[in-house]
């Protein structure tokens, strides 16, 4: 699935959403890709991402298979980037999510200098990606435009729900969960931070952007 491409929102709404991911091409450069992908994640962690992830084990917040009942009152909401790096055991797509352009630009520049030989893509607004490339003095190689959602669009929920749920392009964050979290935050039953961690745990490759999600939830409280 074109997992990060079809996030719902206008260009302005991606001002805090920069997904940079590395991928090896099957049969072309996947030999010895694992240490390079791990290096990609290690470098990303230096630039204060809001999420890190890989396709097989997920992001920096993960569900627990054996949760203690008492943990309801003290659940750890801190993203564990090191667990993502240490858990990478198979060449797959690795992603870093940033909530500001400067961090994304600096990371892209550093990745160019590291010369890992992996394909690197930036998924954000078209202008945002161009600025990252300009900062790193890289001409864009290829571009894949999202033309958005068409067809039976009457089946889709409202804008805020869509902006939250499409941040997991694999579709693991359901519309209903996003809607429930908006409602719970509005009712004061959970904080935006708590609601964001619930949704993050469902994203199976770690590209969910908790910073953008928190902003969207906050805006829902403010009635924007």
């Amino acid at each position: 699935m074109t997992n990060t491409l079809h996030r719902f929102g206008n260009a302005e709404s991606f001002s805090d959403d920069y997904v940079v991911f590395a991928i090896a091409s099957k049969g072309k450069n996947d030999k010895d890709a694992l240490p390079k992908l791990r290096r990609f994640l290690q470098i990303a962690a230096e630039y204060k991402p809001v999420n890190l992830g890989e396709g097989r084990h997920g992001g920096a917040l993960r569900p627990s298979r054996d949760m203690s009942p008492v943990s309801h009152w003290k659940r750890d909401m801190t993203p564990d980037f090191q667990a993502v790096i240490d858990g990478l055991d198979h060449p797959t797509t690795c992603a870093a999510v940033f909530d500001n352009r400067v961090a994304a630009e600096d990371f892209v520049k550093r990745i160019k200098e590291e010369d890992l030989g992996l394909s690197v893509n930036i998924s954000t607004s078209i202008d945002g990606a161009e600025q990252c490339c300009h900062h790193a003095c890289i001409p864009r190689h290829s571009v894949g435009y999202s033309l958005g959602f068409e067809g039976k669009t009457e089946k889709l929920p409202n804008t805020q729900v869509m902006m939250l749920s499409t941040m997991c392009g694999h579709g693991m964050v359901s519309h209903q969960l996003a809607r429930k979290m908006i409602d719970w935050v509005k009712e004061g039953r959970r904080t935006p931070d708590q609601a964001v961690t619930y949704m993050s745990r469902f994203c199976s490759c770690g590209v969910f952007n908790p910073a953008r999600a928190k902003r969207i939830l906050q805006e829902s409280i403010d009635g924007k």
Partner: protein, 280 residues
Amino acid sequence: MRINPDKCVACGNCTYVCPMEAIYIDPVIKRATIKRDECVECYACYNGLSQEHLNPTFVRAIRKTFAALRIRFEPEPDVCPTAAFEPDELTWPRVVRRAFSDPRVPHESTGVEGRGTEEVKTNDVSGRVQVGEVGFTIEFGRPGVGVRFREIQVMCSALAKAGVAFEKKNPVTSLMTDVPTGTLREDILNEKVMSAIVEIKVPVERTEEVVRLVWDVEKKLNTIVALGVGTRCDPDGEERVVAPILERLGYKLERAKTNIGLGRAVPASQPAASRETINA
């Protein structure tokens, strides 16, 4: 996927996390139940919910007591308190559902790993889309709607009639019994999946024609279609060919995936390791 009725305490958490809204509390048996035909075997419930292993009898007693006292029972919303979900052994053709819906499994049923292919993500290495070409990803079913293969069949037939080339290493193409006509296997047509991507490549001159064809066909479908259009930039990193066509067709281009060209192929003499592609 199934929910063990001996374990389920009908807390309802899972009814919200199912992307297909296929889980409900059956009022007769008072247990969460899966509408089997709507379930796409994405495993969001099994993989996404944290699991506790509480005693179901104890939890039911607590819930009953709270309900009698009109006290709201409010567990964490991303937890199954009794680990009631149990994966089924999937057989053909149902296994296709999981292959197209659970992002953590490779396409065992189709022989192709990942839901799509690498498309422009590795174009700097693969050279799949060259200057003067456009690669389309036509995705069905997401977000949160799903699609049956019989609807994808309608689009494939129309594209085939137009004489476009389907990407060979694509899971949908691998399910075709006749690629020139875009005919999918008969036994999968009723299977529902989270999403599926048809990939084609055409000369840039045919961009508008393909978009208009998709517009025409998607009106007949009972699902969502998401179009992605990939192309090569010029040596300066600019893309001045396809964007104007799309804008002329009325699209406001907001978001894109940009391959920044850092990939490098290793010499062919070195054997490549097997890998799993999970699209990003």
